[in-house]
Point group: C2
Chain length 331, copies 2
């Protein structure tokens, strides 16, 4: 971990820091300091070395390493006790479930640069090209009955909006049931999975997976997904630091989780109703049949209240129907 | 697989079978035949070899191998398409869940001679000493809502009774909620676990774990478990073939599963009510409080209907309370 220590000192220094000072302050040989610098360069840190002056940190790469994420995460907190930062994985949710079975503690977080078999809701895939997104799963062990956990996915949509707003100053909208959108296109996918003891219905663990598109362009997606997806950097026009956003996400999910445990969801419901881009619009319900209706409200369980052509109101649930705008993903 | 083929021919032969005949019929060298025989002996098959006469199968070991189980299982059927026979594993349920995540098909069965971290309901352990039990998990992928799957554990209790009766001619009783018992002691544990997509509540997979005590004696258990547990061979006074019982279990769970899918549980409910050893007896409810009541019926959802001291009737559910007899595990 001399690499982390060298990085810490270089970060703290405004100008140059001599190899001698580094060696002395860290009780490392000059060769070990050089090796650490080389290692950091390989990770993408730009470090200038000038004879007689020493080393200077010029730029930090956009990497999802434990060190970078912890800088933003700070200490304490319920979630993030363990961070598993992986370069590539089949699916962060699958990996987290395996950790859960091995007894990993609540608050364990799995983050990957790449998913080879990223999964979405209803058995769909989630396209997760390398280095272009944040693919993150949080492990929770709530002592709540499954019914009390049903809102977690919708609430996670709000948490993503909160995190993006805090880091970027822009608040995404929410396409029902839980897709954060920017400019009418999907920014993020959420997949919650839970393991129950069958007979008692006791929840053993829950994994909350969040995939945020960060720097994908149309070519990074298959044509069908390219039509409905966007990425944060593309839509903002500037590059957001992935580790900063990952840390913000962890903190927002923590807030969500504490709210879920206390049971008063009114704040999240209010935020959801404000953020939901479908309300007041005409949408198509795609279920067993296709139906054109007007979305009028979100009920207490995050169901979508719609008004049908003959003026009747009914509530539809995620899993029964999906929703499309009339002219695209949202509108 | 020359070992399996040699075994098959030896089984089919009443007396001796010459090495020459084996070699010719199986198109194997004499050395290969000898190697196969040696391998079978290592697996515990007793095979006599006499000069001028050849080989003769004397006895078959009590092993849980795919070959032995398939002999009894026969071909076809919905469950048992894949049999994973392991010598030792942490937990067959955990192993099956990992297989499920890797896409293993419905009907996959995991069987082990030994569990190092066998699990029971409510986070309890299930003691699984080596070679002394059947530790078996079946992987199901039912397209049913979770509520429709709640009866599966209770029904599995009936399935175990059916399998034991078919193989041994003796029918165990059932201690509510789902423990097969013989002579007032616990013979078997059942643990169902399922994985849900959190938001839609869609079931991804269900694992049904069954552990049957076969040849344990008191010394094989910790003192607390030794007080309430028994094993099949001990209580019967003779040795039951584990692979035969394992195969019967797979077939009975298959019948249970088809019943669950069709939705008419009346046959299993009737069997449960007949088998339940608690009905008509005084039992202690061990929940948040301790209460002495009379067990009077099993309701449509396999809940226990009890009459309290002041004559009121109420239904208790597994997970809320456990039940003990007044003078021991059952009575």
């Amino acid at each position: 971990m001399s690499r982390e220590k060298v990085l810490q000192l270089l970060r703290a220094q405004e100008g140059y820091l001599s190899g001698e000072a580094l060696s002395r302050d860290l009780s490392l040989s000059r060769a070990a300091v050089w090796k650490a610098v080389e290692g950091l360069r390989k990770d993408g840190y730009e470090i200038e070395a000038r004879t007689g002056l020493g080393y200077r940190l010029i730029s930090v790469p956009d990497v999802l390493t434990e060190g970078e994420i912890r800088r933003y995460l700070g200490s304490g907190g319920l979630l993030g006790c363990e961070l598993h930062c992986l370069d590539s994985v089949d699916s962060t949710n699958t990996y987290a479930k395996k950790l859960a079975m091995q007894g990993a503690p609540e608050g364990t977080v799995v983050i990957a640069n790449h998913q080879t078999a990223g999964r979405g809701r209803m058995g769909r895939q989630f396209q997760s090209p390398k280095d272009k997104g944040i693919y993150l799963t949080l492990l929770l062990r709530p002592c709540l009955p499954p019914a009390r956990l049903m809102p977690v996915t919708a609430m996670a949509g709000v948490a993503v909006c909160d995190a993006v707003e805090k880091v970027c100053g822009v608040r995404p909208g929410l396409k029902w049931p839980n897709d954060p959108v920017i400019g009418k296109r999907k920014l993020c996918g959420v997949l919650t999975e839970m393991s129950l003891e069958g007979e008692t219905g006791q929840v053993q663990y829950l994994v909350l997976g969040i995939g945020i598109n960060m720097s994908q362009t149309a070519e990074d997606f298959t044509p069908d997904v390219a039509q409905i997806a966007t990425s944060l950097n593309t839509s903002l026009g500037w590059a957001v630091c992935r580790s900063e956003l990952a840390a913000a996400l962890i903190r927002e999910v923590e807030r969500l989780y504490l709210t879920l445990l206390c049971g008063d969801l009114s704040e999240y419901l209010a935020a959801y109703r404000r953020d939901c881009v479908n309300l007041g619009k005409t949408v198509q319900l795609l279920g067993e049949e296709r139906e054109v209706v007007t979305a009028v409200d979100i009920d207490e369980e995050f169901g979508l209240v719609v008004r049908t052509a003959n003026g009747e109101e009914k509530t539809v649930r995620s899993g029964e129907v999906s929703v499309r705008g009339m002219y695209g993903y949202v509108e």
